[in-house]
């Protein structure tokens, strides 16, 4: 495989000096038609290597904004964000993102869509083609490699976009409500697939969602955020055993953790 990639380490979470991301006193202010808005206020966070971290909160709590700042897509208004010890100035190829919509280009086949990052990086497409097909098979799309996005359902499109982000093997995955537009059953399937991929590759994952159950089910830690202005209410450790199956939802501890978050958000 050509191109320089670095695989995420799956070491146990240690001191913050080994953090993948460090967010320090982050503020983000937006100008809107109805005046300036403080979307994020004094966020302090560290993301440990190999962990599955969720941001959860109601709409307007700034979780997507926080993700975008961490990704380097938005500048901070005040404070510091660093990735592997370096200040974040722009997006990095070692950080892969998924969005709420699959963002597949309708004029490209599924395979061409998956290979697009390789094209943009200027790497050798041919060298990655086999791996791309493998990944598509791994997400269940082997018979749609030459299909066009319009022929795929929403869930299938998101799976293709997952294959796309995995192809160039970034150490970190930032997922902004990737399964929010899907129905419950498809979403659960995708969550299980995501966990499988995460435990196989040891990447660091930050997952944004407004679904508390989903956050607890997936994560090692949950960052609970409250809106107006967006602040971190608490960072919870999820001490449920791994590997997780849907059965874990029967565990009393699961419900307790969900309710703890609900109380923090004022919806208990």
């Amino acid at each position: 495989m050509t191109g320089d990639t670095s695989l995420g380490t799956s070491g146990s979470p240690t001191s913050s000096r080994d953090s993948v991301f460090e967010v320090s006193h982050l503020y983000k202010v937006f100008h809107t038609d109805s005046g300036p808005v403080m979307a994020l206020r004094d966020i302090n966070l560290d993301v440990r290597p190999g962990e599955f971290l969720s941001f959860v909160g109601p709409s307007g709590c700034g979780k997507s904004t926080l993700l975008n700042v961490i990704a380097g897509l938005l500048p901070a208004s005040h404070g510091e964000v660093s990735f592997k010890g370096q200040p974040v100035k722009e997006p990095s190829r070692d950080i892969g993102m998924m969005f709420q919509t699959s963002v597949l280009f309708p004029w490209r086949t599924v395979l061409e869509n998956v290979l697009m990052p390789i094209e943009i990086f200027g790497w050798d497409k041919k060298a990655y083609k086999d791996r791309a097909v493998e990944l598509l098979a791994a997400v269940g799309l082997e018979s749609f490699v030459e299909a066009y996005p319009a022929q795929l359902s929403g869930g299938m499109q998101q799976r293709a976009s997952l294959a796309r982000v995995l192809l160039y093997d970034p150490a970190v995955l930032l997922l902004d409500e990737p399964f929010g537009a899907l129905d419950e059953f498809t979403r659960e399937n995708m969550n299980l697939e995501l966990l499988k991929i995460w435990s196989a590759t040891g990447k660091t994952v930050i997952f944004v969602t407004h679904n508390i159950n989903e956050a607890v089910f997936l994560s090692d830690r949950v960052v609970v955020m409250t809106p107006r202005p967006g602040e971190v209410a608490k960072v919870l450790d999820v001490d449920l055993p791994r590997p997780r199956s849907l059965q874990v939802m029967k565990d009393a501890r699961f419900g307790e953790q969900v309710f703890e978050i609900r109380e923090l958000l004022g919806v208990a």
């Binding site: 006193h25 202010v29 100008h31 808005v37 700042v69 901070a76 100035k89």
Partner: protein, 288 residues
Amino acid sequence: MTSVVDSPAPTRSLSQDEEEGLLAAAVPTDAVAGGRSPSWLPTLLSILLAPAIVGLWIVARQLDLVHDILLPDFVPTVAAFWDVITADAFAMHLRRTVTEIVLGYGLGCTVGLGLGIGLSSFPLLRKAYFPLLAGFEAIPGIVLAPVIITWLGFGMSGKMVQAAIACFFPVFVTTLVGLSMVTDNELRLMRVLKASRWQTFRQLRIRSALPAIFGGLKIAITTATIGAVVSEFVGADAGLGFLLLRYKASYETEAMFALIFIFGVIGSCSFLLLELLERKVVFWRSPS
């Protein structure tokens, strides 16, 4: 795109005052991103562009870079504007052309709307006639202009018919397309409410279609104007197009410029009128 505010000291939480300062400093993102120039500069340059063009014009004439007949002097051209407007017959020519356009537009739009609405209720007829008529739309209307003049003479009726033909197609096609833009759920709602065909049409289909229809109406006013003017070119006894050709024949280029400007004004006014009408009728849509 920097994301780190460089501070010599390690970052810390902000005080109340500092937070307020941050909020106050927030600016619209495109002002920052577009960034290198202040926001008033384009507007200033825009305003300066007109006199700059006039300046070039005057210089070109002074240095005699362009022949007098092709590009008359600036001041006489502006003066000609006044002369043209105050000429005896001008009001008559203006009235003539505007009437042709308005009547032709009215006729063409009525037929277009009627046929569009009619065909939309009969899917079979729609499938039969839409491709046919859409094919006809491509034919340049001017090729018929001499024929229509031969049939109807130099008078108003020929121009009216030409304008009507020109504006029929855009209205017809957009009406048909607009009426088909209802969604599944909207139709279901009407069925559940046991709405009659007429009610469904009036309350749902026609209103959903209005944005598209207005799009067609706006295109149609342009094509109707073109139709009327071209028809006057081919043969007429009055009208602004006729006047334009007469000025050309007598090499009164300043007057031609003036008339062209007037045409521009007519075009803008008619378009603006339609915009205003659209905003009132299709009030739920923000203008595109």
